[in-house]
């Protein structure tokens, strides 16, 4: 088809424009420089997360040919369409829908977790709502705090259904759906089960797209404050790779701005006694994982080996593919490895009673909260990690402590668990873990130095990617998936014997940890995720050492404490087990 056949003409508020067939009214208006407010609409473009069920009706505009209001998010432009975004009818239609939503909303903005970060609040401001003309009964649903990770307050829900799109279409987990009808409709779990009893993976993608405070993380900051104010406690904190490229957004920095040094300083100012780097744990994970992979290749399986650092993904396989529990690597996640070593190796070296250590993680992730509470990751009731704070919770604590983030000087991580390589940095993005593992595995298998460390085939944004890496004539077949829906496809192929891989990396969130459920809200702008990913690779490129096994402190911990990769002690402290969980 010629381009000219694909183009159609329309007018937006009288301005003539030409757009491609299939363009939505919303996009056509944007092309004409006309902004239409939206609420339920969400489009993460490359990440294939689209919610355009046209249910909020906040984006309606008038089709001047028919005189009807149409939802601009889902209505396609037709040739000759005359779009009026600012007719009285359109404005009143939008306004009424918004006022109705507000009339059924608690309006406790001052004390809401989403205050100043809420799309409903912004919209009320943008649409100049000064009075809500319709008042009446409000929803009265119980608040669900039964999971360790997600706080669900249905009374703040505006039924945009973005969470349902993420949970059902993108992640294929299917925990959330609308129940009941009419005014009583509520986004809920099957049979109103407690979130904690469902097959929720706690990936938090529902939270990351929720426009209001209906879904949020279970806030652990008050517990952490208590520990920080307890002089008997030695409070250690660690920071995940994806946090340092996102936290700055909460303080007015451009998306992707790297603020590692400021994060460290801020944590010290908050009163943490020791600031470790989860990246150290990432390097250690790679060394253990690469060893495990090499062993599994040599001992004929089980293959493929799947990465195990993503807790939502671990929950997912335990619940949905119990027959495949021998495929994930037994390695604990980096946060657990750091926690485990902090309470053993670090405690021993510094003569601290592990009982007095509180381990706090700063994570881009909500599922890490549930991971930290896993029995398997504890020794005699002592958990590797005691509290997990998301990037957002940390930002709130920094603000609460009146720390001027922007003027902070750069700090550096503490030893013994503070050194890291570029390979650890890229853990924060899809493809990063497997690339880091490949760098180490290559040298382990071949015994030769890897000159070109950038495995560009493993990078990108496609939901499922495949690549082959040659090592000493052996071809290592690698698969990568991000988003659990893609993971499911890949796993089904493996289960059914349709695909053969040696190693697979899976991350539950779109784009990997940079798009984690605990990160600053992207409000539907997928460019923010891209910027964060770019910065992750920038950190890798700017680091002198780019292979995990070259990390001098990793070498030291093996020499002083663990012995060799895969040793008995390493197995005890750094590896874990999985069990089938049948849930609905």
């Amino acid at each position: 088809m010629k381009l000219i056949d694909k183009m159609i003409n329309c007018t937006v508020n009288g301005m003539e424009i030409t757009v491609e067939k299939g363009t939505s009214v919303l996009d056509a208006a944007a092309k004409a420089g006309v902004h239409i407010p939206t609420l339920c609409h969400l489009n993460l473009h490359d990440l294939n997360a689209v919610n355009q069920s046209a249910n909020c009706r906040v984006c309606v505009v008038e089709d001047d040919n028919s005189g009807r209001l149409v939802p601009s998010c889902s209505q396609e432009v037709y040739d000759g369409m005359k779009i009026e975004t600012d007719s009285m009818k359109a404005v009143m239609g939008r306004r009424t829908s918004l006022e109705l939503l507000l009339s059924n909303h608690p309006q406790d903005c001052l004390t809401c977790v989403k205050n100043l970060d809420c799309e409903l609040q912004s919209l009320a401001h943008e649409m100049n709502i000064k009075e809500i003309h319709y008042q009446g009964e409000k929803m009265q649903h119980p608040i669900d705090t039964t999971s360790q990770a997600i706080h669900k307050d249905p009374n703040k829900c505006i039924m945009c259904r973005r969470c349902i799109t993420m949970c059902n279409d993108v992640q294929t987990v299917g925990v959330l759906s609308p129940l009941k009808r009419g005014f009583d409709v509520v986004v809920a779990t099957a049979f109103h089960m407690d979130m904690g009893d469902t097959s929720c993976t706690y990936c938090g993608q529902c939270v990351s797209v929720c426009p209001t405070g209906a879904l949020a993380e279970m806030d652990a900051s008050s517990k952490v404050w208590k520990r920080l104010n307890n002089p008997k406690k030695h409070v250690i904190v660690q920071v995940a790779p994806a946090v340092r490229v996102a936290l700055g957004e909460e303080f007015g920095y451009d998306p992707g701005e790297i603020s590692t040094g400021k994060v460290v300083s801020a944590l010290r100012r908050l009163g943490f006694d020791t600031v470790f780097d989860t990246n150290f744990g990432a390097d250690l994970t790679i060394v253990e994982e690469a060893k495990e992979l090499v062993d599994r290749i040599e001992k004929d399986g089980p293959l493929p080996m799947l990465t195990s650092c993503c807790p939502a993904w671990v929950q997912f396989i335990e619940q949905q593919f119990p027959e495949l529990l021998d495929v994930p690597s037994t390695c604990k996640s980096p946060q657990s490895m750091v926690g485990s070593l902090a309470k053993t190796y670090y405690a021993e070296q510094n003569n601290i009673d592990p009982e007095d250590i509180t381990m706090v993680s700063i994570m881009p992730c909500i599922a890490k909260k549930a991971e930290a509470a896993r029995e398997e990751l504890s020794v005699e009731g002592h958990y590797n990690v005691d509290y997990v704070l998301t990037t957002r919770e940390l930002a709130r604590m920094i603000k609460e402590a009146a720390i001027d983030f922007n003027t902070l000087r750069d700090g550096t991580f503490d030893q013994l668990l503070g050194e890291s390589t570029g390979a650890a940095a890229i853990f924060g993005t899809t493809g990063g873990v497997i690339e880091a593992a490949s760098r180490t595995a290559y040298e382990m298998v071949t015994g030769k130095e890897l000159k070109q460390v950038d495995f560009k085939d493993l990078r990108g944004i496609d939901g499922i990617r495949e690549a082959t890496i040659e090592m000493n004539g052996t071809k290592l077949r690698i698969g990568i998936a991000h988003e659990l829906g893609n993971a499911r496809k890949l796993l089904e192929e493996i289960r059914d014997g349709k695909s053969h891989f040696d190693a697979i990396e899976i991350m539950a969130c779109p784009g990997g940890c940079i798009g984690g459920g605990g990160q600053p809200y992207h409000h539907g702008d997928s460019n923010i995720l891209k910027k964060r990913a770019e910065s992750i690779y920038k950190i890798d490129l700017g680091t002198e050492l780019r292979k995990s096994h070259e990390n001098p402190m990793v070498k030291k911990v093996y020499k002083d404490f663990l012995g060799s990769p895969g040793s008995k002690r390493a197995k005890d402290l750094l590896h874990t087990t999985y069990s089938a969980k049948e849930r609905i």
Partner: protein, 607 residues
């Protein structure tokens, strides 16, 4: 026995014995309304008695579908004289057998008395109720045994299908239906032929023909009556629709609570398969088509075609934005045609008698007939099928016989919860899709409720809104929260807790819900309120300004002090001496109306 051709079908038809003129054929109505008045027990008793008296050869008992005059049910039509017994009770059966069947006498006391002329009418066809009706959709309803395929065949059944498959291309059929001017009877009134044409145009390996039998309007029961009374007509129409649109599979979406419709439909589908009217190579034409029944859970919104399709797919019954239309992307993402039962019931008749014949009936833009479910403050309650263009006055006063007590009729509600009210100034409007639209009402599925002078229009609007806000699927904001807020305002008003600003609020909200809701349910939900607000503004104002009189009082000029009212008042709130004007203590009055009913002088003033 497979029927392979039109000739074979006709041969079979000719071989089916017609009832002997000497035999008595009893058409016993087993429509839902009569069933609820024990017609099944009556039929059972008749059967026993016929056997007992060895009348089997002389009497043929036919259990039929709805005979339409529901208010007079249970009904028995005694052929060949066409004597009609009304309001038959189980206890009357023995007498009917004794007198009518054994002795050839008529049971006079069970005959219908025309209340206007106070004259006994023996044959149904002479009743005003039936005189102006014209049956197309309900053609065989109440005249045949729906469980017996021979009865349908005897009435030209499956001839249209045989002819179409032998002589017409799918495009021909689409053209015929277009030419007939048939429009969707389920509410929207869209051209059926055009709808079929859209699906035919689509290229796809799979297509579906869907029948919307999710009749949900309170009070409407024409679709269930068609399925109960003439299921083969629906099946024949579905096969023809499948052929015309290129679908090999048909689905009938019917609410599970319609058990009395589902049973005969299942039987009819089995019989149609047995005779080769469904299945492979129908009438040796090479065309394959089969039907499946899909049971719905009875949500009003599932009458909306996209919601219906989602429900059939096992999804939540919720509408989605159109386009894409079902003809492009319907059931399982394939091109689908969704037609309502009454629409389809017209199809075989149109094809038998021709598009010209059909389009000669009705008005300029609305052809054929429409079935209305007539109810409310009207003498003859039941199903009424009349040509398009019949006026409200004809339906309510001639067919319906007017108010049972002769009171003034204030309004007619048409179109159920999506419709509006018609006031007396429009009673002479010829009813069709466009005329209704122009006066702010809509055809809907044809519920027609007559309201007399005593009806409280605000309460009526509130009733409908209560229904729609409860039946809203909750997907889009205006319908989910907006209808709830409208209902709350109405509740405030009727509780005398409202204020004048509520009226403007109600109107503005209603208009915005109409304009911005996602589907037809939301877009039409405010109609009952907005139309009553337009025509009965004073009733709303009386509530809003709290001037509405809610208690009874006495007109002292008229009161003669007879004390009748005082004696019947259950709360003893009427006082006054004999031959003195009485008074009502309004604080104690419960507005039961007992005083009003007994007053011989019209001295009681109603609220």
């Amino acid at each position: 026995m497979r029927v392979e051709s039109l000739d074979a079908l006709k041969k079979w038809k000719d071989n089916i014995p017609s009832p002997d003129t000497k035999t008595i054929r009893i058409l016993a109505c087993a429509g839902t309304s009569c069933l609820s008045s024990d017609s099944d027990l009556i039929i059972e008793r008749l059967k026993e008695q016929i056997e007992k008296h060895s009348l089997d050869t002389k009497v043929e008992l036919v259990r039929t579908g709805c005979v339409r005059l529901c208010g007079q049910g249970p009904l028995l039509l005694m052929e060949p004289e066409e004597i009609t017994y009304v309001k038959v009770h189980l206890d009357d059966v023995d007498e009917i057998v004794e007198k009518h069947l054994l002795n050839g006498e008529t049971v006079e006391r069970l005959l219908y008395t025309d209340p206007k002329r106070n004259e006994i009418i023996k044959a149904a066809k002479n009743m005003d109720f039936y005189k102006k009706q014209k049956r197309i959709a309900l053609l065989n309803c109440g005249s045949i045994d729906p469980w017996n395929i021979e009865h349908y065949v005897q009435n030209d059944g499956y001839e249209a299908l045989a002819t179409v498959l032998a002589e017409n291309s799918p495009q021909d059929v689409v053209d015929i239906i277009k030419e007939s001017g048939l429009r969707g009877r389920g509410g929207g009134g869209f051209s059926t032929g055009m709808k079929w044409g859209f699906t035919l145009q689509e290229k796809s390996d799979e297509k579906y023909m869907i029948c919307n039998a999710d009749e949900g309007d309170p009070g409407a029961f024409m679709d269930r009556s068609i399925i109960e009374g003439d299921p083969h007509a629906l099946i024949e129409a579905m096969v023809i629709g499948g052929y015309a649109t290129g679908a090999k599979e048909g689905l009938i979406y019917i609410r599970a609570e319609y058990a009395t419709s589902i049973e005969p439909l299942r039987k009819a589908i089995e019989d149609a398969r047995e005779y080769g009217f469904l299945g492979e190579n129908i009438f040796n034409s090479g065309f394959d088509f089969d039907l499946e029944i899909k049971l719905g859970a009875g949500a009003f919104v599932c009458g909306e075609e996209t919601a219906l399709i989602h429900s059939m797919e096992g999804q939540r019954g919720e509408p989605s934005t159109k386009p894409p239309f079902p003809s492009q992307k319907g059931y399982r993402g394939k091109p689908s045609t969704v037609n309502n039962v009454e629409t389809l019931a017209n199809i075989p008749v149109i094809l038998r008698k021709g598009a010209k014949w059909f389009s000669s009936i009705g008005t300029e833009e609305s052809k054929g007939t429409k079935v209305f479910a007539l109810a409310g403050n009207v003498r003859n309650i039941g199903l009424v099928e009349v040509p398009m263009g019949t006026t409200f006055r004809e339906i309510v006063f001639e067919i319906g016989g007017g108010h049972p007590d002769g009171k003034d009729i204030k309004a007619i509600q048409i179109g159920g919860p999506s419709g509006g009210v018609i006031t007396e100034e429009y009673f002479d409007t010829p009813i069709d899709y466009d005329s209704l639209d122009s006066i702010g009402a809509m055809m809907g599925s044809g519920g027609m409720i007559v309201m007399d002078e005593d009806s409280d229009m605000v309460e009526i609007a509130k009733f409908y809104l209560d229904f729609t806000q409860d039946e809203s699927c909750g997907k889009c904001t205006p319908c989910r929260i907006g209808t709830k807020r409208m209902y709350e305002i109405l509740e405030r008003l009727t509780n005398m807790e409202g204020d004048p600003d509520d009226l403007e609020r109600l109107r503005t909200l209603g208009e915005n819900i109409q304009s911005s809701s996602l589907c037809g349910l939301g877009q039409s939900a405010p109609n009952p309120v907005l139309s009553t607000m337009e025509y009965f503004a004073e009733e709303y104002e009386a509530y809003a300004y709290r001037t509405k009189k809610t208690k009874y009082s006495v007109d002292p000029e008229k009161c003669i002090g007879c004390t009748k009212c005082k004696r019947v008042c259950p709360t003893d709130c009427i006082s006054g001496d004999v031959r003195q004007a009485h008074t009502i203590d309004e604080s104690e009055c419960i507005a039961c109306g007992a005083c009003y009913d007994v007053c011989p002088k019209d001295a009681i003033i109603k609220p």
